[in-house]
């Protein structure tokens, strides 16, 4: 059986790097990995997701009620993917919304507080991350993906070692970014 993980958010938030690092870490542990992600025009501010299966599987896409973990970069997007979560699955999500343009110009309404309370009442294993506060404390606006990934690893649902994620990060990012990304990865651990 595979471990099934969904990364989701809004185009440009860094979901892809989080999913790549997880995949690279799993490969270091000699595990089979498959992913499917949104590419192309939808990335321009649209909803994006990446489905990942670590272990034996045929296709990378996850069915309803089959995900062990959802890593949400945006509360509304987390709710959008919730039907995929299996009973007893875990959710790690940022609580800070990204307002769509359609809401700004008054064509649609988006109540992100309602999303967060919905998650609270529907998910048992829920970890909420306040991105604004986390990024302020870490002192870098661009490491949301590492904060969320660190929290995701904590749940045990990914089944890969943080040290392997860290090693994968070092292979992909320039040395000057290692320290802050490592801090971000362990941020939720120390709470």
């Amino acid at each position: 059986m595979s471990k099934n993980i969904i990364f989701c958010g809004v185009g440009g938030q860094g979901t892809v790097l989080a999913s790549r690092l997880t995949a690279a870490a799993a490969m270091k542990e000699k595990k089979q990995v498959m992913t499917a992600e949104t590419i192309g025009m939808a990335q321009r501010g649209g909803s994006v997701f990446s489905h990942m299966k670590i272990g034996e599987a045929n296709s990378p896409l996850i069915g309803k009620g089959e995900a062990d973990l959802i890593v949400g970069f945006e509360p509304g997007e987390t709710v959008r993917q919730l039907p995929f979560l299996k009973k007893g699955g875990a959710v790690v999500t940022n609580i800070r919304p990204v307002q769509p343009v359609s809401a700004m110009i008054g064509l649609s309404a988006y109540d992100s507080d309602a999303m967060v309370s919905y998650l609270k009442s529907h998910v048992n294993r829920l970890i909420l991350v306040d991105a604004d506060q986390a990024l302020f404390e870490i002192g870098n606006p661009k490491v949301l993906n590492m904060v969320l990934l660190g929290a995701a690893l904590e749940t045990g649902a990914v089944g890969v070692e943080p040290s392997d994620v860290e090693a994968a990060m070092r292979e992909r990012l320039p040395e000057k970014l290692w320290e802050v990304n490592t801090r971000a990865l362990h941020y939720m651990q120390n709470r």
Partner: protein, 614 residues
């Protein structure tokens, strides 16, 4: 051999390299683009690879190389095949010497295309054999086999992944460059009885093609990827079977697990492996065909049953058992199979979901939008302002990021059909109503791909319109490929850039104005003036794509003391960096590029700070 985590498109490219491809060409188009990019990136050094100006050009380059004995690869998306159809249809009649694989990425959904056309059907129409991979690792191996078949039978072949294969990732074993096959093409050998298509040659070759495809049907029946899996577990003796293909095979396997009825996976839908199909149908009463796009397998099996008088009921899209259009998913496949097998009650979903989704709060709607600071926003806004109050206007759009100009609040795209179509469609609209002030918007890459002939047609036929070239110096939507106007090639060589203004003047246009769309004050009256001139005029809005060429600008900031909360900036521009904070505008500094568009339209001058830092 070594293991890599690869995107399907990367695996396809590495497979082609392993097969010793000599020449590769294509035109960008989601979901196919990364194939050629990977060939360029992983080029062992001797592969000639190019972004062609359009798919037809790429197909012709590949054809020339293939009749010279080279192994050739040409890549495109499914609608690109329509552009390349002309050379391909004829090439099939003369055949090739070196293996030639035409990769056409199909897009069920469609997720990022105009149509849901099926290249398997195109294979039947053009008589070109089709290979249909069902996973990333299979795509890697199968494309190497496709080259072998192509060369052995002297025909181009289709290789048609779909989006989920193209953009899926898998950790797979691939060859090291030292293990790649080596091909030394002999070069073109003159033989006009072979390479010059005349009706006489076509008559002769058509007969040979039909014979060859009959033979291929037999050969493919023995091809190991056209496989039959015996029924297993609870369904070991079931008299129902499932015929499937591509990613749907993988969905079906994930959905059913160890208990499954007899399965037929069709890897070569054309020529259809008839003998293998007979073997599959043996002992079955009913078959469900699970496929995306056209009911190709369903039709083929229905035909086989008719031909051999088999009492097997074939079900699928045509019988309403599988949805007729759109993309399948693990869930939709599971549902179709469950109701076919009569286990519908238990099989709504495989897992047990944490909760039911139907009661959740209203989800945010997020259609894709033009990026913050995108110069296209300025171009559309400038034309919109210039033509405000004019009763009859037409804003013909085209294919590219700028198709997003249709969204509110810009609402500046009245038509969009296919690459380059806007120019001639504007002509047609004006023919019917000459009072319409027509604008045809076209991007720089699209202009080169298929806009130039349109301009010549409009100019030659004396129509009136304003051509608007949105020149952002890249092919942005597909991920920033170079094109003839950029002066760079796929392999990074610096070459003479083709100048759009000179092309237009060369055609004969006398009004060709280049403008900076981010300078509204200068643009708007100019646009208005040009729109009123007769004939075909051109405006070139030149401003680089901000994703590719990150501007070194200050960020614009709203002064909350000055802002009167009129929301004009937010309402009229739809820039994703502009949000409302309480009742004042606020600019998200992480998104703002400092393009100053909002600064220019704020009625009280509350926004400042953007603009180029010298």
């Amino acid at each position: 051999m070594h293991r890599e985590f690869l995107m399907g498109n990367e695996a396809i490219a590495l497979g082609a390299l392993a097969a010793g491809v000599n020449v590769a060409a294509g035109y960008p188009g989601t979901p196919s683009t990364e194939i050629l990019e990977t060939v360029a990136k992983r080029n062992p050094g001797d592969v000639k690879v190019e972004w062609s100006v359009n798919e037809k050009a790429g197909m012709e380059v590949a054809a020339g190389a293939a009749i010279s004995g080279a192994r050739t690869l040409v890549t495109m998306k499914q609608v690109g095949l329509n552009v390349a159809a002309d050379p391909l249809m004829s090439l099939e009649y003369i055949g090739v010497k070196g293996g030639m694989v035409v990769v056409v990425a199909d897009d069920p959904g469609p997720i990022s295309s105009q149509t849901e056309q099926d290249t398997r059907t195109f294979g039947m129409f053009s008589k070109v054999p089709v290979f249909d991979p069902s996973s990333v690792h299979e795509a890697y191996e199968m494309i190497q086999e496709a080259f072998e078949f192509s060369e052995r039978y002297g025909t181009p072949v289709f290789f048609r992944p779909t989006t989920r294969i193209d953009h899926g990732y898998e950790s797979i074993d691939v060859k090291d460059p030292g293990e790649y096959k080596k091909n030394d093409p002999e070069g073109f050998v003159k033989d006009s009885s072979r390479w010059v298509i005349f009706p006489r040659l076509s008559v002769k070759n058509h007969a040979l093609i039909e014979k060859r495809n009959q033979e291929l049907s037999l050969v493919f029946s023995g091809y190991r990827r056209n496989e039959i899996l015996a029924g297993a577990g609870n369904y070991a003796d079931c008299r129902r079977g499932i015929a499937t293909q591509g990613i749907n095979f993988s969905y079906a396997m994930d959905a059913m697990g160890a208990d499954h009825p007899k399965i037929f996976r069709v890897a070569t839908p054309f020529p259809f492996p008839e003998q293998k199909a007979l073997e599959f149908l043996e002992g079955l009463d009913e078959v469900l065909c699970v496929e995306e796009l056209d009911p190709v397998i369903e039709r083929a099996l229905t035909f086989v049953c008719g031909k051999y008088h088999l009492p097997v009921k074939i079900r699928g899209k045509m019988t309403g058992d599988v949805k007729p259009s759109g993309e399948n998913s693990v869930d939709s496949v599971r549902e179709s199979i469950a109701s076919f097998l009569g286990t519908a009650e238990s099989a709504g979903v495989a897992g047990s979901p944490e909760h039911e989704s139907d009661v959740c709060p209203k989800l945010p709607v997020r259609p894709p939008v033009l990026c913050a600071g995108c110069p296209h926003r300025a171009s559309f806004y400038a034309v919109k302002m210039a033509m405000e109050g004019v009763k009859k206007t037409l804003f013909a759009g085209d294919i590219g990021c700028y198709t997003l100009g249709n969204a509110a609040p810009l609402d500046m795209t009245d038509t969009c059909l296919c690459m380059g179509a806007g120019i001639n469609m504007a002509q047609g609209v004006v023919r019917v109503d000459p009072e319409v002030k027509a604008f045809a918007f076209v991007g720089d890459s699209t202009f080169f791909a298929s806009g130039i002939t349109g301009v010549i047609n409009a100019f030659y036929n004396q129509d009136s319109m304003t051509l608007v070239i949105l020149d952002n110096s890249t092919t942005a939507m597909t991920g920033h490929q170079p094109h003839p106007g950029t002066g760079r090639t796929l392999m990074g060589d610096v070459v003479e850039a083709v100048r759009i203004d000179e092309v237009l003047r060369g055609i004969g246009l006398t009004t060709v104005e280049t403008m900076d769309p981010l300078d509204l004050k200068t643009c708007i009256p100019e646009i208005r003036r040009i729109a009123d001139e007769p004939g075909v005029k051109a405006i070139i809005f030149k401003s680089p794509c901000i994703v590719r060429f990150k501007p070194k600008s200050g960020k614009s900031k709203v002064d909350p003391d000055k802002c009167i909360g009129c929301k004009k900036c937010i309402r009229e521009l739809g820039c994703p960096a502009l949000v409302l904070d309480g009742d004042k505008a606020f600019i998200d500094p992480s998104q703002c590029t400092g393009c100053t568009l909002c600064e220019q339209i704020c009625p009280v001058g509350a926004i400042a700070g953007g603009g180029r830092n010298e």
